[in-house]
Amino acid sequence: MTATIEAPPATAAAPKTRRKRRDWRAIGAFAVLTGPMVIGLGLFKYVAIGWSFLLSFNDARGTISLGHWTGLTNYVFLLEDDAFRTSLTTIALFTVFIVPITFVASLALAVLINSIRRGRAFFRTVFLVPAAVSYVVAALVWKMALFNGLPSGVANVIGGLFGADPVPWLSQQNPPVYWVAVVTLRLWLQVGLYMILFLAGLQAISPTLYEAGELDGTSKWQAFRYITLPQLRNTSVAVLLLILIAAFQAFDEFYNLFSTGLAGTSTAPVKPPLVYLYDSALGDQNYGVGSAGAFVLTVIIIVITLLQGRIVGFGKKD
C-alpha cells in the first residue's frame, strides 16, 4: 500500500521572505486538522497494540498490568491448544465455502441486474436491503425460524414440499448441516454489498467493447468471458480480498447461533478464532493469551492477504 504514496515535491516552496510566516500558519492549520486523528489513532491503535504486544509475553490473568514476564509461554500455549487449532480449521472451512459462493453470487446478481432495464432500481434495492440487517437479527431469524429444526421451520417446510424429512439444522454434528445455515446467513447479508461493487465495475466498461464484439460475432458467453471478466479484474481482486478478510474475522453469527453449543446438544460449540479470543480474554480474563491470539491472527490474515495478492497478481501494475 505504501507504494502509492507519492514523494512530496521537495522544491515546492522556493525561498521567499514571507516563507517562514506562511509556513507557520500552514503548520498550525495542519496540526489542528490532523491532531485529533493522530492522537486518537495513537491511543487506540499504537498504544493499544504496543501494550497488548507486551502483555502477550506476560502472565496476565485477571490483570492488564505488566510484570510477570513469561517469554513465549502464551504463544506456545495457544499453538498447542486443540481448541485454538480447531478454531483455525473451522474458519478455514468457513472461508472455503463462503468466499467462492459469495463471489460468484454477487457477480451473477450484478450481471443479471445490469442486463435488465425496467425495474433495475427495485431489484437492486431488494438485493441490497439485507445489508441493513445486523448479524444478531439475522442469527435470530435463522436460528428461531428458518433453520430451527422443527417441522414448522421454514427450511423444513420447503424441504417437505419435495418430500424431505425434517432436518435438525443447528443441532446435528454429523453430517454438519449447520454450515448451510451459517453460510446462507452471511451470504444473504453481504451479497448485495459486493453486487454494488460489481455493478460499479460493470458500468465502467465501455459499451463500445461489446459493440466491437458483436461486429466480430461473439456469443454472449464469449463476450462475458473475454470482455466482461477481464474488464472486472481490479474489482474482482478487491471483492475477493474484502470477502476473505471479512470471513476470517467472523464472530457475530457464530456467537449468536452457537453460543450455547450446538442447539439442544452437549457437543462443543463451533468456535471461530475470534470467539476463541473473546472467551480467553473476556471469559477467562486471560489477557496474555487473548493478546497473543490477536497477533497470531493478525499475522495469518496478513500472510493470506499477501499470498492471495501473489496468486491473482495483485499489485503487478505497481
Partner: protein, 292 residues
C-alpha cells in the same frame, strides 16, 4: 481489439437485435424468484412478530396470523430482565455521535493531508496508513486493555471513542480532496481567509455528498456493531440494542414473538435509511470498496 478505434456512437444505442419483451422474460422471472427469497426473512420477522406464542410454535404452517397480536411489541418493553428501551436509547446515542464526529475527524485529517503542504506531511500520512494493516476486529483485545485502563468499561463513551478514529475514512477523504477543484481555495485566499477559514467556509460546505455517504456508512456500522459493544459494555445499563437482543435470544425462557418484534424495531431505522438515502449508501459502498 483493433476495432476499438471506431468512433463511439453518439448515444448508447444497442447495436444488433433488439430483444423483445419475450426474450427478457426469463431474466425477470429469475430476478423475481430471487427477490422473493431475499425478502423471505423480512416476511418471517413480520409474521412471527404478530403471532401469539402458541401460533409461533404450532407445527402447522400459516401465512399470516389471525388476529394480529400487536401485544408482542408491548411485551418486548415489559420484560424486566432485558432493558430494551434503554438499550435502543444507547444504540441511538452511540450512532448519532459516532457518525458525524467520526466523519468530521476523517474529513479534517483527509483535507490537511491532501491540500496543506507542510514538512512531515508524508510521515503523518504513513503513520495513519500503517494502522490499516491490523485487521479491525482483531484489535478488540488491545483496545479493551487501553479503554479499560482509562475507565471506559460499561460506559457509552467507551463504546464510542475507539470508533471515532478511522484511518480508512481519512484515506477516502484524502482521495476526495486530492481531486477537489483548487479555484475554490484560491478564491478564499484572495478574500483573506486562512487555511482553517477556507476549510470551514468553503471546503466543508462543498463536501456534502462525501460527508453524507461516509456518515451513512458509519451510522449503519455503529448501529449494527456487535463485538466491541459486547466486550466493553458488560453491564445491562450500557447494552446497545444488538447486545440486548442477543441476550434475549440466548436466554433460558424465550418469548419468541416479542423477540421478533424486537428484531423488527431494531432493523426499522436502517431499512428506512436504505430506502430513503440509498444514493448515498450506494456511493459510500462503492467508494469504500475501491480503497485498493
Amino acid at each position: 481489439m483493433a476495432v476499438l478505434t471506431a468512433p463511439p456512437p453518439p448515444a448508447p444505442v444497442r447495436a444488433g437485435r433488439k430483444p423483445g419483451a419475450l426474450a427478457k422474460a426469463p431474466k425477470y422471472v429469475l430476478a423475481s424468484v430471487l427477490a422473493l427469497i431475499f425478502l423471505l426473512p423480512f416476511y418471517i420477522m413480520l409474521r412471527n412478530a404478530l403471532m401469539t406464542r402458541q401460533q409461533v410454535s404450532s407445527p402447522d404452517w400459516s401465512w399470516l396470523p389471525d388476529p394480529l397480536s400487536w401485544v408482542n411489541f408491548g411485551d418486548l418493553f415489559a420484560d424486566p430482565s432485558v432493558p430494551m428501551a434503554h438499550a435502543l436509547g444507547n444504540s441511538f446515542l452511540v450512532a448519532i455521535v459516532t457518525a458525524p464526529v467520526g466523519t468530521m475527524l476523517g474529513s479534517m485529517a483527509g483535507y490537511a493531508l491532501a491540500r496543506i503542504d507542510v514538512p512531515g506531511r508524508r510521515a503523518v500520512f504513513t503513520y495513519i496508513l500503517v494502522t490499516l494493516m491490523i485487521p479491525q476486529s482483531v484489535t478488540f483485545v488491545p483496545t479493551f486493555v487501553v479503554v479499560g485502563a482509562m475507565g471506559g468499561v460499561n460506559t457509552e463513551w467507551g463504546i464510542i471513542a475507539p470508533n471515532l478514529f478511522s484511518a480508512f475514512t481519512v484515506i477516502l477523504f484524502r482521495n476526495f480532496y486530492l481531486r477537489f477543484p483548487g479555484e475554490i481555495e484560491e478564491a478564499g485566499r484572495l478574500d483573506g481567509l486562512g487555511y482553517l477559514g477556507v476549510y470551514r467556509r468553503l471546503v466543508l460546505p462543498n463536501s456534502g455528498s462525501m460527508l453524507a455517504s461516509l456518515g451513512a456508512l458509519m451510522f449503519i456500522e455503529s448501529w449494527n456493531a456487535f463485538l466491541w459493544p459486547l466486550v466493553i459494555g458488560q453491564d445491562p445499563s450500557s447494552w446497545t440494542a444488538q447486545i440486548a437482543l442477543s441476550t434475549f435470544l440466548n436466554a433460558q425462557q424465550i418469548n419468541l414473538p416479542a423477540l421478533f418484534a424486537g428484531a423488527l424495531i431494531i432493523i426499522a431505522p436502517l431499512v428506512a435509511m436504505f430506502l430513503l438515502a440509498q444514493r448515498f449508501i450506494v456511493s459510500g459502498i462503492a467508494a469504500s470498496g475501491l480503497k485498493e
